[in-house]
Symmetry: C5
Subunit: 361 residues, 5 copies
């Protein structure tokens, strides 16, 4: 099930900036990091290669551009080494390791750090948000993805195919990565949308208690997405507004497109929330309608048959007295039995007429 | 049924700005584009004629004004040719092709791009939003309407009739098109309003489960309209605030009128949302009221007849013993039967009196 | 019934600023306009007189002040003539004729146009909003009230009585008219408040389904008032903020008072909305409470009498066998009948004790 | 009962600033004003004395400070006299007389007028808001309290006790009065809080329909308080922001404390609203839970006993035929009666097992 | 139980800034204050020692730094002495003693006062907010914690361990204390999160009335937390925005991290509120679903057995007449009994078929 909250915090009072020691249990769930370096030299992207965290190459000339993607959880040691090399603030190192951060953008001089969550659905259709950290310093762009699948597989393919032109500058590359990360929300939302439509069909056609659980699961995911997407939008907005100087005018146009995507995603999430709320209302109303229908059936049946059964019961009584003229004389009338039937039919018809007039059926 | 979400996105990681290849299935649903050119020369609008995307005429003098309306989906090739000729940014070309965009306004130097959704109801009264892209560069105005009906048929009629005076400048023409596009929401809202009133009548008179489905359908449409109209208002506002320099003072007055219309439409949508919410409340309350009424009828009937039937049952028992004075002696009393009737009538009257005192009827 | 939406729009694509032709049906509902002119000369208000739209007098000296009140719907021709004479923008003329506008303030140079809705309740207590247009140009103030009753009858009385001093300048007069128009909301709100209190009394004392309809009617009116009052407040605010220069410091103080009134009205409407929402909640809860009470009565009755009736039914069976010792021997016991009564009384007492322990009564 | 709205308005069209004539009925409810003057001379507060509105003393030297508290409703005449003497704007005079104003602050040159509502609970625990008007002009501070109890009894005691130091300047005195007025909300809120807790206990322990009425009463009071407190906060804020120059830096610090109190009060009111909303939800849910419990009991009883009663009824039938082998032969079987009991016990057990499996009990 | 409101106010009219006298009852609940002084000299933190409020050491040189933590409630006398020594404003002294303040930040010249609430859960899992006051003046930092546990135990440990480097400047120390205080919310939220998940499991699996009480308790805590956390966020924000000059650029980076934590906490609280609201909806819906299920079972049973019981009752009647051919002749038919069974089976099957067609089971 989609979890809303993960315990990812220091005990209060711990010195901030300390890199957390993992418990054994946590360590078992972690994929060790692999370091994928894509380099661009002389206007062309070279082959992506696996490097070691301990000797990441430096940028040697102004037309060189390195993109280091760290997939999996680096050890504290690897992270510190990288941090020393590239100038990663200790707080950022801590955030990369600990995860569960709110999307945010931070700037230390010319280096820019962007944190986002990338939504993925696992095989059982539970939603997970994995933290992505993008770091840009000079001609170095580093992306950390300590958990979850690799979001940039397709970007790397593109680099290879397109060769020279694409994503040739650091700001351009950062844009490309942000764009790919944000767009991962679309297929997730598509799944959510389809599940909402399925739930809608169920509720209008044959609501049952499982529909409720499914609706609740959808709400859960939308709460999680919303919590995450509001600050994401704010992050992109901040990049456009406050860190304008790091982007060329051309890249800014493309960044506005990413911003438009986040707004569009937010709109969808809000509409989906409205839809699930509406569906719950409809569910409650249709339950209420059905209850009324059952209740009326029951009332009609009971109102017709209870008096009749009472009358039948009365003439099933065994009063008898040799001389009393009051000991159920009706039982011995010539027309007694047909008369009783007549009375009963009249009562039944009267009841039915009454319910008709009350428009009960 | 009105769809809230259409799958119109690239797989994450695709290079932005690439024009999407259509699947065969999608291609089947598409109307090929026709290119309608209206030109104004020497202060008069000429005849509207069909042109080819491949040789769109250029503007030759300052008093010439071309309006190209592209109805239907242009091919990627046609779009690229047009783009080259008129200076359409690749991102805009992508948005025109892909559709499903949020209303927005973008400016590249002196060229202005406005994207809106035009709402139409189809024959089965489902609401659809079709994307309209307006593009103004110098004395060229282009409008793209890849899906849906042609929203400007009446505007073209007006051009012919009025001849010289109307919509003589590019900003004026842009205003005219925006005005026509925005006003398409009124008949749609009118339909919605009428359906709300019909639902209101139903709910107060004879609520059934179909009313619920209709209410839900209305909510769906209002969610969709609202999602679309908020940014539309913002677009018009942005035009008035940020791109003031592209409009003459006179046109600005008329644009404020368009803005007022969008605000008025938003107000209506909000009021309709309030109304549908209120109707659902009323529906639930009246269901609850009816349930109470049925329940009370049932309780009254049961409370009166159950004790009576029990008594009749008692005297239908067959206890008998030749010598026992306790073997249902009542059955053999002289006044036994009338006495039992008396007791039963008393019980019934007592019950009725009790319900009266409790104000149950 | 209070209508939320009136069809007052052009077909999309009509040239803006065209004065609408009325259908015959619409024309039948319209009161032709009468033109009431009040003039102030030499520091005194003269007699109010009926004038013709075709020769409205001009302002001849700086200490003259004309107030023209147009009650009823002017013909397009009359309006155009007036417009030419006084400088009314075509869009304003259109808005006057078409009605259904949002409250707004517009300024063209030194002329100021204010549009408001004046709320009135008709004889059947339905709320209507009639559009009032105020126009101030130099020493001319014009008020249009195409529908509904005359809101300024009392103001005219005041002019006569007070003679020289009151409302001597155009801005002062405009303030006086705005104040009178805004204050028309108070008696309407008073009616609404009384109806809410009546509904409250009903709901707490003897809720029935008519209460629901009344609550819904109240909600409808509050939705309509709210939709109208928000922009009204904004209009007064705009007058104070943006068109400060048209008012003397003294009039500004009085205008702030009008603003305070609109805010006070808004507060009341919001409180009333809260109240009706709360009343609906109470209604639902009390319905739920009653349902519970009925249900428990029914359950108690059924739980006590069903087993008893069953037992009575058992001993009403006719099993008999000359030799079998199992053919209902109880029927022939000496103490059989009292024993059965004992068992039945015990069962009834046990059930009652159980319900007592469950605190059901 | 707490009233949300009092009819305190002019008929629309009355000249603003006219002092209202009271109806006889209204006049009967009014306490005539008494005028309490506290004066400070030579650094000491003198004795508080009753003065006449017709000869209020003037301020004679710069170290003199007069505080006039008007408790009760002054006559229009008294008010006009005071107004002339101290420079009260006619609109303020009108507001003092008419009451029912929104909290507001107004400034005319160096004179400052603050209007607030002071909440009091009467003996039957209904909440009332009484309007307090504070007026500061030079070394004169006037407070009007036309209705309700005297809110400043304790402040006057303090003046006497403290003698020289306390509240020595006009701004300081104004602060003291505001502080006392705002703090009157605390005991009221305390009462509300206790009533909410009592209602909470009731709802969780033994909800009945009176709880509902009490909850509704609480909501009513909170709506009223909220409507009043929002603008109160704004008033204090405005004093701090816009009329800074009238306060010494030292008094500003103390005023910030008053502001903090209003915010704290607002927070409480909001929390209480949340609490009552939550309580209503809980009430509805627990009603729903109880209904379910009753319903299940009833269903279980009915499902068990209806088939049994039917069977007993069958063998109570009187079919008989001398020769037919089908005329209820069971009745004459040797094991007939025990067999029927066996069947009935089996049916009962089967039903119980079914309900068990459905986890109904 | 978590209390939403504590009576911590002066009677209205008390002179502000007076230190409250405690009632005996209150005094019994109070822990007397202990004064823990940690001093830093020559770049190292010395041993923490207990001092007396009456002779707190002064700061003697610029590289000295004193941190005085006051755990428990100081007497009015001790507080006044401290206040005189360190320059604590009387209003701040009052706030420290009285508690129940809203989080706020105040600045008097170079001294800064920050008030926060520190959330703790007690042994019975009730949430309490204890007020923490932080005061920074020159090289003196004072923290007051009049109630509740000591929140800085771990910080003191850290000071000892780290020795020289950590928290060496006053702004740095203030940051450290704020960070520790804010982070105390995480374990509390973690508890709340776990309890929400437990409630969720309960509601989906076997909802009972205790679940409701637990949900209500959660709501209560979330209302309290929210009321507290909004202003806390604002406090940190104000520190960053308005009192920038008191912090070194380096500390500001760390402070932003504290701000991020408060935002993250707020997000969680909001998500939890959404979750509890959603759970209540689900609870109501599932109750409604169950009610329907019971109702249908009951209706089916009643609809089948009531007619059958009636028929059995009819043939249990005792009509007899020696000569009448109408005195229940069916009873004496050869095939009478099987025929009646046939009719009853047909009725039962018909009813079942009808319910099948209505998709009731």
């Amino acid at each position: 099930m989609t979890r809303l909250f993960r315990k990812h915090y220091h005990p209060a009072g711990t010195a901030p900036g300390t890199l957390r020691e993992l418990t054994l249990e946590q360590a078992a769930l972690i994929t060790p990091a692999s370091f994928l370096l894509a380099s661009r030299e002389a206007g062309r992207w070279g082959v992506v290669r696996d490097v070691s965290a301990l000797d990441v190459p430096a940028v040697e000339s102004a037309d060189q551009l390195h993109w280091l993607h760290v997939q999996g959880m680096p050890t504290a040691e690897e992270l510190e080494r990288l941090g020393d090399r590239l100038g990663l603030h200790p707080l950022v190192q801590e955030d990369v390791l600990n995860g569960g951060q709110r999307p945010k953008v931070e700037r230390f001089g010319d280096t820019l750090v962007v944190m986002l969550g990338v939504p993925f659905e696992d095989a059982e259709r539970s939603l997970h948000l994995y933290q992505l950290t993008l770091f840009m310093a000079g001609h170095y762009v580093v992306s950390f993805m300590p958990d979850g699948p690799d979001p940039f597989a397709e970007v790397r393919c593109r680099l290879k195919e397109r060769g020279g032109k694409a994503l040739g500058e650091p700001d351009d590359l950062l844009y490309g990565l942000l764009d790919a990360a944000v767009d991962h929300a679309f297929p997730v939302l598509d799944q959510v949308g389809e599940r909402i439509e399925a739930a809608e069909f169920d509720i209008l056609d044959h609501p049952d208690s499982q529909t409720l659980e499914r609706l609740h699961g959808l709400k859960r995911e939308l709460i999680l997405l919303r919590r995450h997407l509001w600050p994401t939008r704010e992050v992109i907005n901040q990049l456009l507004r406050d860190h304008n100087d790091l982007f060329t005018p051309d890249t800014r146009v493309w960044m506005r497109d990413v911003y438009d995507h986040t707004v569009q995603i937010m709109d969808l999430v809000e509409s989906y929330r409205d839809m699930t709320a509406s569906l719950l209302d409809i569910y409650l109303s249709s339950m209420s309608h059905r209850l009324n229908a059952s209740m009326r059936t029951l009332t009609i049946i009971a109102t017709i048959f209870m008096p009749l059964t009472f009358i039948a019961g009365v003439y099933g009584m065994n009063f008898s007295h040799p001389h009393s003229p009051f000991a159920m004389p009706e039982l011995h009338w010539y027309w007694g039995y047909p008369l009783v039937w007549g009375v009963m039919v009249l009562i039944a018809l009267g009841m039915i007429a009454m319910f008709r007039r009350m428009k009960w059926f």
